[in-house]
Structures are given as structure tokens and as C-alpha cells.
């Protein structure tokens, strides 16, 4: 909490030297921002509105074409279902766990938070590979559970209808710990006088959690949901590797991002790929703007 943010006072603002120095300090970063943030976005926009059969303005053609692609709607549905499961589990379990961990003793809660957070080190392909093993009944440490569901082979476990759950579990494994830390920190910030007053008024632990704690960390829950939605909508590594490990059982365009990838790399249709990328980029931008404008968590003074 070294970064306690306070709006800079008027005196600080007055002391800010108005000079070219400011431009010099931000110049390098501005170059990267333009070259690697703005330029690719603009270029993708240009491509998205260009005809795939050569140059010429395509209007919404590429967008319409990608919407009509027989793989597009299923990909959106898959990812939508995954997002639903993932977000509900985030809200219920992360908030629930943070509340419970917060009531434990200092040492227990430190150990628990660390244990929950540890798998966060395994982002990217590593965590997916670990789960490929965990979900393979032949070698799984939880094979008794898998057998309990009646699944005896890897392909049964990763059957298409299970995948949204599988990906939600993977995402929870690597991501939930970090969010529990955030919620825990937010709970720590609730003024103790407030809790004391509620306790004196006879609030039970349940009432304390439901009427005081959760409303006080509401902003952070909103932040988590929007951010997780934005990240989850971009799903790529997980379905890509699972599809590869399934030996063709899982189709390689499971998520919209994979479909965009297939447009670019298999069909050589950069315009179609751009159209889908723009869809996803706009979705990400809307979420980010929503967080900045609505939650009030980040102030640009």
C-alpha cells in the first residue's frame, strides 16, 4: 500500500514547470504508444474495410462475411458460455473466499493467500499443459474424481460440451488467487470504526458480510467482473492447446480469437482476420473505458 493515491494538491500543480521538458520525458513512450498501439489499430481498421479480393472499399463486407461464417456463431456461443461460468464462479467464490480468509487469523490468512496465489506463476502455455495432465485419467492426481464422473479417457474428459467448464477451471486456477488478494486488500481498507459500530449494533457475522463488507468492496467486484470479461473474451491459448492435444476432436476455431487466427494463417484472409480482431478490440476498449469512467478506481488527475 505504498501507493496510496491522493489527488495532488493545488500547490503541486502550481509548481509544475510548464516547459518542453514534459514532452522530452514522455517522448519515448509516446513513440511506442503510437507505433505499437495506435498504428496497428488503425492498420487493422484499414484492412477490415478493404476488399479481401484486392484493394477497394468493402464497407461492412468483411464484418458481414465473418458474422455469416458458420464457425463464428458457435465460437461466440462457446466463449459466452465459458464467460458466464467463469464470471459467476469468480464473483461467488472469490468474494466468498476473500470474506472467509479475511476472518481467519493473521498467519493462516497469509499462508492461504499465498497458496491460492501460487498457480498465478503458471500463466500461458504452462498452466494449460499442467491441466492436460490433471484431466487425463491415466495419470491424473484426481483420477478418482474423473472416474467418479464415469470418464475413463482423456477424450471423454475434454468432450466438447465440457470445455467451457474446463477452461473456467483453468482460468480460476491461475487467476482467482490474484483476485482474492485484491478483494482481501479492499476488505482491509474498510474503516475499523465502521465494523465496530455495526458489531455494537448487534450485527451478526453474516449481516456484517452482506450489509457492510460486500457493499464496501462493490467497486472492486465490478472492476473484477469487467476485467475478467474483457480478458476472457480474448481466449486463445487454452482452446488452441487443448485442440492440439485432442488429436482433432476439438475444432481449432473454438473461440473468436482462434477464428481470427485461422483467417490470417490458414485462409490468408487478412481482411477477415482484421474484422474479427476489430470486434474483439472494440469489446476490450469498451470494457476498459467502462472501468475508467464508471468505477472511479483510476483517477487521471
Amino acid at each position: 500500500m505504498a501507493f496510496t493515491h491522493r489527488a495532488p494538491s493545488v500547490t503541486v500543480a502550481r509548481r509544475r514547470p510548464r516547459s518542453v521538458a514534459g514532452y522530452a520525458f514522455v517522448s519515448g513512450y509516446a513513440v511506442l504508444l503510437i507505433g505499437l498501439g495506435a498504428a496497428p489499430t488503425v492498420w487493422a481498421l484499414v484492412l477490415a474495410f478493404q476488399k479481401s479480393t484486392g484493394s477497394g472499399f468493402a464497407g461492412a463486407g468483411n464484418f458481414v462475411q465473418s458474422f455469416k461464417d458458420f464457425r463464428f456463431l458457435p465460437a461466440v456461443e462457446h466463449t459466452g458460455l465459458y464467460l458466464l461460468i467463469w464470471l459467476v464462479s469468480l464473483v461467488v467464490l472469490v468474494v466468498g473466499l476473500a470474506l472467509v480468509v479475511h476472518t481467519r487469523g493473521k498467519r493462516t490468512s497469509t499462508v492461504l493467500r499465498f497458496v491460492y496465489y501460487l498457480p498465478g506463476a503458471l500463466a500461458g502455455a504452462a498452466s494449460v499443459l499442467v491441466w492436460l495432465f490433471v484431466l487425463d485419467p491415466a495419470v491424473s492426481p484426481i483420477s478418482f474424481l474423473l472416474h467418479g464422473f464415469g470418464w475413463t479417457s482423456f477424450n471423454q474428459v475434454i468432450a466438447p460440451e465440457h470445455l467451457p467448464y474446463v477452461f473456467a477451471i483453468m482460468a480460476f486456477w491461475t487467476g482467482a488467487g490474484g483476485w482474492i488478494l485484491v478483494m482481501y486488500g479492499a476488505l482491509n481498507n474498510i474503516p475499523s470504526e465502521l465494523m465496530e459500530a455495526a458489531r455494537l449494533d448487534g450485527a451478526s457475522p453474516w449481516q456484517l458480510a452482506l450489509r457492510i463488507k460486500i457493499p464496501m468492496i462493490r467497486k472492486w467486484i465490478a472492476y473484477m467482473v469487467i476485467l475478467a470479461f474483457a480478458t476472457g473474451s480474448q481466449l486463445f491459448v487454452e482452446p488452441q492447446l487443448v485442440s492440439q492435444a485432442s488429436g482433432g476432436l476439438i475444432n481449432p476455431t473454438w473461440s473468436p480469437n482462434q477464428l481470427a487466427y485461422a483467417y490470417a494463417f490458414q485462409l490468408n484472409n487478412f481482411n477477415g482476420a482484421s474484422a474479427i480482431s476489430i470486434d474483439l478490440l472494440v469489446l476490450g476498449l469498451i470494457c476498459a473505458a467502462l472501468i475508467v469512467v464508471r468505477t472511479g478506481l483510476f483517477e487521471a488527475s
Partner: protein, 322 residues
Amino acid sequence: MKTSIDASEPQVADQRARQASTGGRKVGRRGRRTRSVALRSLVVLLLAVVAAFFLVPLIWLLLAPTKTDSALIARSPFAFGSFSQVATSWNHLLAFEGGAILVWLRNSAVYSFAGMAIAIVVGIPAGYGLAVTQFVGRKTLLVITLVVMIMPSTALVLPLFLEMNSLHLVGNAFSVILPFSFFPFGVYLAYIYFTTTVPADLLAAARIDGCSEWKTFRYVAAPLAMPVIALVAFFNFVANWNNFFLPFVMLPSSNQYPIQVGLENLLSSTPAFNPTIGGSQLAVYRPEVALAILLAIAPVLIVFLFSQRALVTGLLAGATKE
């Protein structure tokens, strides 16, 4: 958990009937005390189950390279094999594509550190400039930084590929390093740090003593910013090291892969998940893949173990506004 508290009478009666028949412990009617003991043990159980969920895959992963592939199937998942088997797995892994694993690890280190170095050299002054100087467009730059920082970075991967492709930079290490070094989160962290932690009076004093803007930054502000530099370095390194999608699309040849893409390559070459692959000449089975995963996560895991405090601070950066 809520239902166990608010359990209504008929349910309780029903439960008791069932428990009586199975000789189970009676809960519910014994009054508050029993109930709260039951609830408390339920909470402990829940916490333990969740801890197991997070730990079990990691423990399995740590033990896997100590066993042979057949022992992984036959023996208990938590049995320890032998250290000599780890050495055998290592030799097999090393033999894969003539030591490809070492090349991948080296590539990961090069890309991650190069990206991190640029991110710091460029990002820390930017955060400083946003925090202590005044210029036209400052506010706009700050808002854009916030939005790009929150937006998932994967959303930019395919547009970046299309850009690099038209610039004929695909396959060049810089097509990965430069996007790694574009790190708005680091700029925001530095901005917050310089607005809140470095006193404006100190900087003003340096200027009065005749420091130019650059010298004020270089000799006064930057040395005070070591904690935030370390934090930015850490977050950027972890993000770079774990990035899969960007190098996956940018770098086509195996000797350029970072370890994350290398793992994917390993996955498609192991008979463990690809029975069609002739396993006779390849010795990359599950223990070898598990060992490769461990090597891939080792650097990040080590940093995690030693800097949990810094991490928490970083996660909460901007969290404690009110």
C-alpha cells in the same frame, strides 16, 4: 453455506431422519453452539478443499519428472520416484531437436530482459513527466494510458501481426521485444509513485539549486524511484516470460521460439498426447514434458516466492484511493 444456516424445519427433520438411519451426528436442533461448531468446521473444510485445488496440480507436477512414464500411470500420483530418473528425463529432453529446450529458454530470457530494459528506460521517465511536468495533451495521454493498460493485451496481437507483416518484420526478434516494451501499466505505476511518494518540494529545491529538468530527474527523482523501478521490472518480466500468443504468431521458426511456444511444440511432438507420432526415436514422454514445464515456470516461480509482498503492493496499486 447460506442454506445450511437457514435450513427450514422440514428439511432439518428430513435430515435427522436420514442421519438417524445412518447413525450420523445430529446437527441443527442442538442449539446455536453445535450449529456454529458445525459451521466453523465446514468453513475450515472449504478452505482446505480450495487449498488442495490450487496445490494438488503443482505437487503432481513437481513429482512427475522423478518417475518413468509407466510409473506415472501405474503408481500413486503422489509417489516419489528417484532423482536418477530426473537426470534421465533431463537427458531425453536435452536430446529433443538437439537441445531445443536450451535455445527456447535462452530466447525467453533475451526477449523478456530486452523488453523489460526498454520498458523501464522509456516508461519511468514517462511516468515522471506525467506526474511532475505540465504540457499540452498530458491529460489525454494519461487517459489513453489507463485505457490501454486495462484493455487485454491479447486484443492487440493480431493487429500487431498485420502491422509487422506489412513492415516485413515478422520473424524478427524485435517484432516481439518492442511490443513487450510497450507497457502502459508500468507508466501508470511510475506516475502514481511520483505523484504520491516523491515530495514536490524536494524537486523544487533541486531546481532552485540549479538542476536542469533532466538532472532533477536523473539525480534526485530516479534514485528515489528504485522501489517502483523494481516493481515495473518485475511485472513486465513476468508478463513477457509468460506471453504465448504474441511470439506464437510472430516467430515462425523453432530456433526463435521462447519457452512458452516451445512447450506447445513439445506438446505436438509427444506421443503422450499424439499417439500418431512414432514414439520409437523420440523419448519425450510425460516426465520430460513435466520437466520442461517446471523449467519454463522456474524463473517466475522463484521471483514469486521471494517477492510476494511487492506483488501484493503492485496488485493493489491504485486500489487504495479513498
